[in-house]
């Protein structure tokens, strides 16, 4: 049986990768994927803890997170499509017209 600490490590690595992706990449789709990565890092941690404590709540949270992430992706992709239609680009650095 794989020790729980492995899951922690994997989750931390995934989260770090996701955060790095959000901060570094300029492609909106990639950023979204990175966000998903972070969410799934959190999900992994949830289920890991759920098994460790043999409690079902962690798994239930994961379902909620997946559902919310799906909804978020739907909204987010719609926004990205709308932006793409006007700007012909999904480089988020070009979407900086609200700067002071």
């Amino acid at each position: 049986m794989v020790p729980v600490s492995y899951y922690f490590a994997l989750s931390a690595i995934l989260f770090a990768l996701g955060a790095l992706g959000v901060l570094i990449r300029r492609n909106a789709i990639i950023i979204f994927m990175s966000v998903e990565l972070m969410l799934n890092a959190a999900n992994l941690l949830f289920v890991a803890f759920a098994r460790m404590y043999e409690a079902l709540q962690g798994q239930i949270y994961v379902f909620f997170v997946i559902a919310v992430a799906a909804a978020e992706v739907a909204v987010g992709l719609a926004i990205i499509v709308a932006i793409f239609r006007t700007k012909k680009s999904i480089d988020i650095d070009e979407m900086s017209s609200l700067k002071g």
């Binding site: 959000v22 300029r26 988020i92 650095d93 979407m95 900086s96 609200l98 700067k99 002071g100």
Partner: protein, 690 residues
């Protein structure tokens, strides 16, 4: 006793009358408005007679409380009516003579408003006349000095309104402002007197703590004599104003500018006697200080003599009567000053009869001439091309003469009035004047001398007037064509003539019903019956007859011809010029008071107000200070401080915004990094702080 409770109606009737006339008088025509006014006055008369009858049964009288009026601290003045023998005497005179004069005025004003070309004023006249009756009733029926003062001022107002009744004209009928000036003069001169009266009222309250007669008069002995002295002398000033005594008499001759019924009612029979009533009402106060009494007596006696001398030199028929009124008021004031309160009141009553008769008679004479003049003008100028009349003064005795025949009835009643005034027995004036003279004979020889001299002059100017007006031959065309006045005018004259004939009965020597009547109010010691002094009566009568004879020598033996100088002037020279010009008293007052006052007013207006206050204080000092202050507020305060604060706030806001906008890069990744770092820091804090 129920009749006493009706006493408020003596005021309410005239008030109702005046309100009706003021509201609908112009619409209901002359007949209607005259009827309302006469009914109102007659209503007062009926109530007064009822008071008289009730008093005969209960001579102690009553105080009829109507309402609370003033209650401030210790001052408590109810609106109450005092029904006693003194006030009812005045009520009867005011409403009796007043009603007769109302009837007379209904006829007289019919012509007057037409000759003055203002028929709409008919109702206005009766509004004023009823207002006067109401005010006079307040004066005589009030139970306190303050209610008396209300009436006092009220009759003063009516006097002013009625003197200036033809305010757009001069006394001679032409357009001008002399009537208004006369009204103003009456008002202003009376103000001086009223000031004295007010001082007396204040002093009474200060000394007695009350203004009600019942709480003042019986306690005269308890107050320091100098206080009473002050009160009575201040009151005397009021009397000299209202009752036209020296030195404030000057308004009364000018008051003849009012229509003749007004001269009869207000400026002869009733209002001007208010001063005498006031002294009689305050009899206990005056009795307490003999020095004040002597002053009053001398003021009266001097006025009686002084005014009589002026009356001798007048040509205006009403001016003679005006000075005669002043002179007779002097008799009354002298009488009440000598403590002969009954004699003064008696003379007041009889004088109301014969002087009202004389004034109304003179009105009838004036009207006769005016009507004749009017007819003559219309005949000579039928198409009325010329507006108004040619100049003709119907009051000038020099244009009269020979009126005995055309206006026979007026002549007879006028003669009765004149003989009454001159004190020929057995007419009313003889008894009352004789009572005053008999009192003076006992009390004060100097006053007696002045009064008997005045009586002598009275008979002389009365004879002169009778001879100038009615005898000889007409000295002008209107006098030749004079027409007798209608019955509505002559009937009041006849009634008054009857009163003059029988008026002496009310205080017949040896019987003294009037003395006993007033004794109920004044008390026995203040209303002692005067013994009939046969010597004094004979002396006065002989003097009067001598005066008549002298008048006949000057004016009767060879009647005055047209445009002839007064024969007395040739004999008396300068003295007559003095009489003619009223001893230049008006000019003296103008020199002593009016002109310095005007100069002072001019100084105040030009120098103090205009040059100092306006030019310097306002235009220079205040304006410059204000400008400097405004500039100070505008520049350093507003621009510097206020704007500085506002602009500084705005500047700091934009500066802050500019600084903060540095963080607003617009790059989502920036924000994400900041959020990330923030989360790291917070987590780090949470992990490491515990």
């Amino acid at each position: 006793m129920d009749a006493f409770n009706l006493v408020p109606w003596i005021i309410l009737f005239p008030v109702i009358g005046l309100v009706l006339n003021a509201a609908i008088g112009r619409r209901i025509g002359e007949r209607g408005s005259a009827l309302i006014a006469i009914a109102a006055s007659a209503g007062s008369l009926v109530i007064s007679v009822m008071q008289y009858l009730a008093l005969s049964a209960h001579p102690e009288g009553a105080v009829v409380y109507l309402a609370d009026w003033i209650g401030i601290g210790a001052l408590n003045v109810p609106w109450a009516f005092r029904v006693d023998t003194l006030s009812v005497t005045m009520m009867l005179v005011v409403s009796g003579v007043g009603t007769l004069i109302h009837i007379y005025a209904a006829g007289y004003m019919h012509f007057d408003v037409r000759y003055k070309e203002d028929p709409g004023s008919y109702a206005r006249f009766f509004v004023y006349l009823n207002l006067f009756i109401a005010a006079m009733m307040i004066l005589v029926s009030g139970d306190s000095y303050l209610t008396l003062f209300v009436g006092w001022e009220g009759v003063g107002l009516c006097s002013y309104l009625l003197i200036g009744f033809w305010y757009q004209r001069n006394p001679d009928g032409n357009k001008g402002i002399m009537n208004s000036l006369a009204a103003k003069k009456a008002m202003l001169v009376n103000r001086i007197g009223d000031f004295g009266f007010l001082l007396a009222v204040f002093m009474i309250f200060w000394a007695f703590g009350s203004l009600n007669f019942d709480e003042v008069l019986p306690h005269a002995e308890t107050v320091a004599p100098w206080v009473i002295m002050f009160i009575t002398l201040a009151m005397l000033l009021g009397v000299t104003g209202k009752s036209a005594q020296l030195p404030l008499y000057v308004w009364l001759p000018d008051a003849m500018a009012g229509p003749t019924p007004v001269s009869a009612l207000i400026h002869a029979a009733t209002m001007v006697t208010a001063g005498v009533y006031l002294v009689a009402r305050s009899a206990p106060l005056f009795a307490a200080v003999p020095a004040a009494q002597t002053t009053v007596a001398f003021v009266g006696a001097l006025t009686a003599f002084f005014a009589a001398t002026i009356a001798v030199g007048q040509y205006d028929i009403k001016k003679v009567l005006a000075y005669s009124t002043i002179s007779q008021l002097g008799f009354m004031v002298a009488a009440v000053g000598m403590g002969a309160f009954v004699a003064g009141m008696f003379h007041l009553v009889t004088h109301a009869f014969f002087k009202a008769l004389l004034f109304l008679g003179s009105g009838s004479v004036i009207l006769a001439l005016e009507r004749a003049h009017h007819v003559q003008e219309t005949l000579s100028n039928p198409k009325h091309k010329k507006k108004g009349h040619t100049h003709f003064d119907p009051q000038d005795m020099r244009v009269m003469g020979g009126l005995r025949k055309p206006i026979r009835l007026t002549f007879w009643v006028y003669t009765i009035g004149a003989l009454g005034l001159a004190g020929i027995p057995p007419l009313a004036g003889f008894f009352s004047k004789d009572e005053i003279l008999a009192d003076a004979w006992i009390e004060n020889p100097l006053v007696f001398l002045l009064l008997i001299a005045a009586a002598f002059l009275t008979a002389f100017y009365v004879g002169r007037q009778l001879l100038l007006v009615f005898f000889g031959s007409p000295r002008s065309q209107p006098a030749d064509k004079a027409v007798e006045s209608p019955a509505i005018i002559t009937i009041p004259l006849i009634a008054l003539a009857a009163l003059v004939v029988i008026g002496g009965l009310i205080n017949l020597p040896g019987w003294h019903p009037f003395t006993n009547w007033l004794a109920h109010t004044l008390g026995e010691e203040l209303a002692e019956p005067t013994e009939f002094n046969f010597f004094v009566a004979l002396l006065a009568t002989v003097f009067a007859l001598i005066a008549f004879y002298l008048a006949w020598i000057f004016y009767g033996r060879t009647p005055l011809a047209e445009k002839q100088v007064d024969p007395l002037k040739q004999r008396l020279g300068r003295v007559f010029t003095g009489m003619e010009n009223k001893w230049w008293v008006d000019e003296f007052y103008a020199w002593l008071i009016v002109r310095p006052y005007k100069r002072f007013a001019g100084f105040l207006a030009d120098t103090i107000d205009w040059k100092f206050l306006h030019d310097w204080v306002h235009d220079s000092a205040v304006v410059n200070t204000f400008r400097w202050f405004a500039r100070f507020l505008a520049n350093p305060v507003d621009l510097g401080v206020i704007d500085g604060i506002a602009n500084g706030l705005a500047k700091s806001a934009t500066g802050l915004a500019r600084g903060l906008s540095f963080f607003q890069t617009g790059f989502v990744r920036n924000y994400a990094l900041v959020t990330f770092l923030g989360v790291v820091i917070m987590l780090g804090y949470l992990v490491f702080s515990s």
